[in-house]
């Protein structure tokens, strides 16, 4: 139960925004760094678009490439996998294995013709709430330009 902070009422601005198409981004975040970073973005009241839905996994090493493929198959406009910086993994090495796996899934997506801009892989630490908020904002803008994803097999 944290103390309340001033929330600027931006109802008017908010409803104006609804007319515009907003992408849906699937975020798969490791518990110890990136999910904590997203939490920090919250505690710091950093605002970012309400486009991302976050699935929590213990480690980026837990990210089965199928999670990413499924995200696209199910029609998410973008998928984001975030983990601890190399060397900072809570489990020492999980993110290094993730790095190879995710690099390959990214290549596979490219081979299958899914725009690279729809998939993002990055390291976000527990202290980088800022970076997380920025990433969601950037990703949202990038995907907005691409438009809705019309499926893995249009």
């Amino acid at each position: 139960m944290s103390e309340e902070t001033k929330v600027i009422d931006t109802q008017a601005e908010g409803s104006a925004k609804t007319s515009e198409w907003q992408p849906r981004i699937l975020g798969i975040l490791c518990n110890w760094c990136s999910y904590a970073g997203a939490d920090l973005a919250g505690s710091a009241r950093l605002h970012y678009p309400e486009t991302i839905r976050i699935v929590r996994v213990p480690c980026s090493g837990r990210v089965d490439p199928m999670f990413v493929l499924k995200g696209f198959q199910k029609g998410f406009d973008a998928v984001m996998v975030l983990g601890c910086h190399p060397g900072d993994c809570h489990y020492a090495k999980g993110n290094y294995y993730a790095r190879r796996r995710i690099a390959l899934v990214k290549d596979l997506l490219k081979t299958l013709g899914i725009s690279e801009d729809r998939f993002h892989f990055e390291w976000v630490s527990a202290s980088e709430g800022n970076r997380f908020a920025e990433l969601v904002t950037e990703m949202t803008e990038k995907v907005k330009k691409l438009g809705p994803f019309d499926g893995v097999t249009p």
């Binding site: 929330v7 939490d39 950093l46 213990p58 480690c59 489990y91 020492a92």
Partner: protein
Amino acid sequence: MRIGVFVCWCGSNIAKTVDVQAVAEAAKDMPGVAFATDYKYMCSEPGQNIVKDAIREHKLDRIVIASCSPRLHEPTFQRCIGDAGLNPYMVEMANLREHCSWVHEHTPETTQKAIELVRMAVAKVSKDQPLFRKDIDLTKRALVIGGGIAGIQAALDIADAGHPVVLVERTPSIGGHMAQYDKTFPTLDCAACILTPKMVDCASHPLIDIWTYSEVEEVKGFVGNFEVTIRKRAKSVDETKCTGCGLCLEKCPMKGISSEFDESMGTRRAIYRPFPQAVPNKPAIDRAHCRLFNGQKCGVCQKLCPAGAIDYDQQDQLVTENFGGIVVATGFQLWNHAALGEYGYGKYPNVISSIQFERIMNASGPTDGHIVRPSDGKTPKSIAFLSCIGSRDDTHGHAYCSKVCCMYNAKQALLVKDKLHDVDTYVFYMDIRANGKGYEEFVRRTIEDFGANYIRGRVSRIYPDGDQLVIKGADTLLGKPVEVRADLVVLATAMEPQHDAKDLARKLGISTDQYNWFSEAHPKLKPVEVLTDGIYLAGACQYPKDIPDTVAQASGAASKVIGLFSKPSIKSQPMIAYINEDTCAGCGLCTEVCPFGAIDLVEVMDRSKSTREKQVMKTVAQVNEGVCKGCGTCSAACRSLSARLRGFEGNQILAEIDALAESKRS
């Protein structure tokens, strides 16, 4: 399946931007949901009672709490539903606060997102399986890393509670920075007078082993059962024989080595102890400077030593020991801004750092407590203290406040006036931060009773003029330039993490912030814990702290260790990997990727192929439950989906993705 959904307002933290009632209403229509409600503070006692009552009344078997981050209150609600008779792991949390209400505005989309987050949690909880914790033995022995005041205090507290402690320190003596100080603010207690008795207590405590000149090499294991390899560097002195007579210290021909303890204001020899009150009071040979180790003829210390304690052939020892808990108390270092050359440090001998001034003031320091200028040994008539050198200065990588400088500036300005009388003191400051017990009063005393001239403003330039230094700056209160002539300039340099803090963090598997200070588990509620169970922080390795804060945190860390050791055994983490042996093909990929070597290949009976007459064996992977930490790298690697992770099963994550995808359609 009867799922209960409880939507929290978190006062107005969630309710202000999310229509919590609409979320609860929407939850009622989600698959498997038998009951949904909302309440102002779900984590409060009445809130938890709502959950417990609903479990009984509506025969709920799975619970979704839609409130804050699971990283904050998951354990709270696990306990809560456990109390109500459910398996504690049948709860999932929808993070409506950190990931939704706090980061979005009050729009229909925000409420829509909240509903989706709840739908995701409902989908996951519907695939939850009861999980069980196992009892694991623990080693009731603590490791304290760092022998400064934080480590000393933690070691004493733990040992006083009856548990053995190993105190590891990398220099030849415990004592840390505090041993270097003259007096301490605001009471002006002599630092040595309050520290050295504690050092002696440590040395004489039957349950404390002090390993100086030693460093942590590797940390394996987990809470209750850490396996730590420590390098005991060769001191070239057999501690069991050395009596600490000090003869060698006087006769070593390698003089004039800059003393680390005296911050280069004094010298030492190649065989040395950092200071006369060192604990253990036995010397070590600094091989980098020793004549013998540099191919020259010597051996004086060995010839002289009456105890025959000098052993040039001593080797580093790698010792691996088991510990149940670890206190990290590695402290800080001071920013070495010599390289920048700013303010003439390193160029003008009379520009020194505060810690160097501390050594000059100290009665057991290089000048025996006589306050003199390094350039000519004359007593200064005018001293300027500059605060925030590197601190609160993003351009030099320290955006933070070093917290203690305002106070020691005041202390030094007071003490120097007290000792010399005929001296003018100037303190250049940005803000005076004196927010401890008796601190503000102390600063007022320095200014009012001891005539220190406080000038609010930054110094732009220092240059020599004759044998004095001219300090040019601006007085921002008066709004005009200011120029001060001083015999001595003292720079309050920023505190920063030890240069190798990151390496230690990696060895321990703990995280650091952007400056490399060690990160606590929660800034408010878990300031002593880190995210790895069984490891606790004490002192300035976490963030700049003064002595009272350091000692308080050290005792806090110690009490955490004592609490851990008060139990006969510890409970295992249930969210660990397991293998479906029926479908495992025994390819061994999981054994290769496991960061902990927790998976082995074993021969088991192949149940699908064996008959009563004939046993068919097959090779499968098996998880060592005591070693697995639950990262799930194995399950992501497993192609046949045989390696699985409890709590983050493939079907749970798939359910989450599917639920979100369905929300899109609806």
